[in-house]
Amino acid sequence: MYTQSFNVPDSPGAKTVALAPSSEDPALQAAFDARIDADGRIEPQDWMPEAYRKTLVRQISQHAHSEIVGMLPEGNWISRAPSLKRKAILIAKVQDEGGHGLYLYSAAETLGTSRDQMLDGLHSGRAKYSSIFNYPTLTWADVGVIGWLVDGAAIMNQVPLCRCSYGPYARAMVRVCKEESFHQRQGYEALLVMMTGTAEQKAMVQDAVNRWWWKCLAMFGPPDADSPNSAQGMRWGIKRVSNDELRQKFVDATVPQAKVLGVTLPDPDLKWNEERQHYDYGQIDWAEFWETVNGNGPCNKERLATRVKAHNEGQWVREAALAHAAKKKAREMKDAA
C-alpha cells in the first residue's frame, strides 16, 4: 500500500529524466499510443516502448520495495503490542504488506526483470522506496497513526492505480486495495480507543500525529510543477491523478477525521478556503524530503541494512530448498527410468 509519488529517479541526485523520443518501430509505437489513448490495457507479451517498460519496472519495483521496507517500522511494535488483539491485528497487517510486496514483485517480473535483480537494486542502494519508512516508530501510537495517515495517503495513491494501463500492475493493485481496506480502519480505530484512555495515551496520539503529518503530505511526492516524470506517467496511464491533486484530496479527507478523533493537525496555515472549496495548508519541507529520499533520513541506513541482513542470512535456506528440490527430482527421474 505504499506507493508515494513513485517515479522518483533511482540514481541519487538526478531529479529529471528526459522523455526519450522513441527510436523504435513507428507503426508499433502508433498502435501502442492508440491503445493507451483509448484507455486500453497493455499485457506482458504486447509490444511496448522500452521507456514504458523501464518506467514501469522502476515504479512497480519501488512500490514493492516500499511494502517490504514498510514492514519494518510497524514490525518494530509487534513484540510489544499492548493487547493480544492488537498484536494479532498488527501481525496480520504487516504480513499483508509482505503479501503486497510479493504481488508487486510478481507484476514487475512479467516485464522481464527477476525478483533477485530488483532486490539487488534495493540492497545496493540504487533503487528507491517510499521515504516515509525512513522515519522511526517511537511509540505505540505511531502504529495507529501509520494506519490512519500513511495508509490513508497510500490508498489515495493506489485506488487510481487499479485503472493503470499495465494489466498485471492494475490487477495487483485491485488485490492490494481490497486487502488494504482494513489497514486504515484498524489504525484509526486503535487511535479512537486510545483517545478514550489516560492523559498519557492521548498525549501519545497527539505526539505521533505531530511527527507524521508533514511526512505524510510529502509522501505524495514533489509538487506537480517540479515533477517532470508525472506528465509522462499520466500520458502512459501509469499515473492517473497528479501529486498535488491527490495531496489536496488527502488533506480534505483527513481534517474532519482529525476532528472526530480529537487531535490537532500541526499546521497553523491549515484552514478551509471557501473560494476553492478545499483546505489550504502550509509549506512542505522539500529539502528534508529529498535528503531522506537520497539516503540521509533518520533510519535509511538501518532499514536497508536490516533488509540486506535478512536476505544474506536467508541465503543458506534458499539454497537448501533448491538443492533439495533438485535431489528429489533426480531421484524421481531415476525411479521412473
Binding site: S83, G197, T198, A310, E313
Partner: protein, 260 residues
C-alpha cells in the same frame, strides 16, 4: 476448577510464547513467502492462546481478562514448556545476542507441532466441552504447522551440506528440551485425574514415530538425550523467558490503566 485453570494456562502459555517467537520473523524471513507463512503460524498460535485465556478468565471470574493473564503475570507464573521460550539460535546465555537462525525455528516448530497434533486430537474428547471445542479448531491449525515445519526439516536436512549441518546442530540443541513433554507436572496430573487433560505419555510412541520418520527422510540423526529435564511448565524457566516477557509486557505495564 484450579486443575482446569492451571492446565489451560499451560496450553495457553505454550501457544502465546511460541506465537511471540514466530512473529519475530515478520519482516526478516529468508524469503518473502516464508515471512508470510510464519506470520500465519504465529497468528494461529496467538489465536489459540486468546481462546484459552478467555476460557481461564471465565473460570476465574472477577475482573480477569485474557490480557491480564498475558501481560500481568510474571515469569515464574508462566507454564509453557521451556523449549518454546528459547531464542531462534543455538545455546547462549540469556543476555547474549545472536541473529535469528531459521533451522532452530523449524526444528522447534516441528517438535512442538508433532506433539500438539496428537495432543489436540486427544483433547477433542476432554471432559471440558469448551476445551474440546478449542482443541478441534487448533487441531486443524497445528496439522498445517506440522506439515510446514516437517517439509522444511526435510528440505534443510536433505538440502546442502551447510543446511544439513546447521539443522542437525539445531536438533542437537533442542532435542533435550522435549524430555519435558513426558514428565507430568502436578497440574497435568490433576487435569488428567479430572478428565480434562490428556496423559501425554500415552502419545509418546506416536510422537516418536512422527519424529523418526521425518528425521529419516531428512537424513538427520536423532540425538540421544539425558540429564536435566526442564521445568518450564512448573514455572521454572530458562534465562530467556524473562527477556521475552519484559519486552512483550513493557507497554501494557507502563500504562496499567490504558485502554487499547
Amino acid at each position: 476448577m484450579s486443575a482446569a485453570v492451571d492446565y489451560l494456562l499451560h496450553l495457553a502459555d505454550n501457544a502465546l510464547v511460541l506465537g511471540q517467537r514466530n512473529a519475530e520473523w515478520c519482516g526478516h524471513g529468508p524469503i518473502l513467502e516464508e515471512d508470510i507463512a510464519l506470520s500465519n503460524v504465529s497468528l494461529d498460535l496467538i489465536g489459540q492462546a486468546r481462546l484459552l485465556y478467555q476460557l481461564v478468565a471465565t473460570l476465574k471470574g472477577g475482573d480477569c481478562t485474557e490480557d491480564k493473564l498475558a501481560y500481568f503475570r510474571d515469569t515464574h507464573e508462566f507454564r509453557n514448556y521451556t523449549l518454546l521460550e528459547l531464542p531462534h539460535h543455538g545455546p547462549l546465555s540469556g543476555y547474549a545476542q545472536s541473529s535469528l537462525e531459521y533451522g532452530t525455528t523449524i526444528v522447534r516448530n516441528f517438535l512442538y507441532s508433532a506433539l500438539m497434533a496428537l495432543l489436540w486430537e486427544a483433547l477433542e474428547k476432554s471432559a471440558n466441552a469448551d476445551l474440546a471445542a478449542i482443541a478441534a479448531k487448533s487441531l486443524k491449525e497445528v496439522r498445517y504447522h506440522l506439515r510446514h515445519s516437517r517439509d522444511w526439516l526435510v528440505r534443510l536436512g536433505d538440502g546442502t551440506d551447510e543446511s544439513h549441518a546447521r539443522v542437525q546442530a539445531s536438533l542437537d540443541h533442542l532435542f533435550a528440551y522435549t524430555q519435558e513433554f513426558w514428565a507430568h507436572s502436578p497440574a497435568e496430573a490433576a487435569a488428567i485425574a479430572a478428565g480434562i487433560g490428556v496423559d501425554v505419555t500415552t502419545l509418546r510412541a506416536d510422537w516418536d514415530a512422527i519424529v523418526d520418520a521425518a528425521l529419516s527422510e531428512a537424513t538427520l540423526q536423532r540425538p540421544a538425550v539425558s540429564g536435566y529435564v526442564t521445568e518450564g511448565k512448573q514455572g521454572i524457566h530458562s534465562e530467556h523467558l524473562g527477556f521475552l516477557l519484559a519486552e512483550m509486557q513493557s507497554l501494557a505495564r507502563a500504562h496499567p490503566n490504558g485502554v487499547w
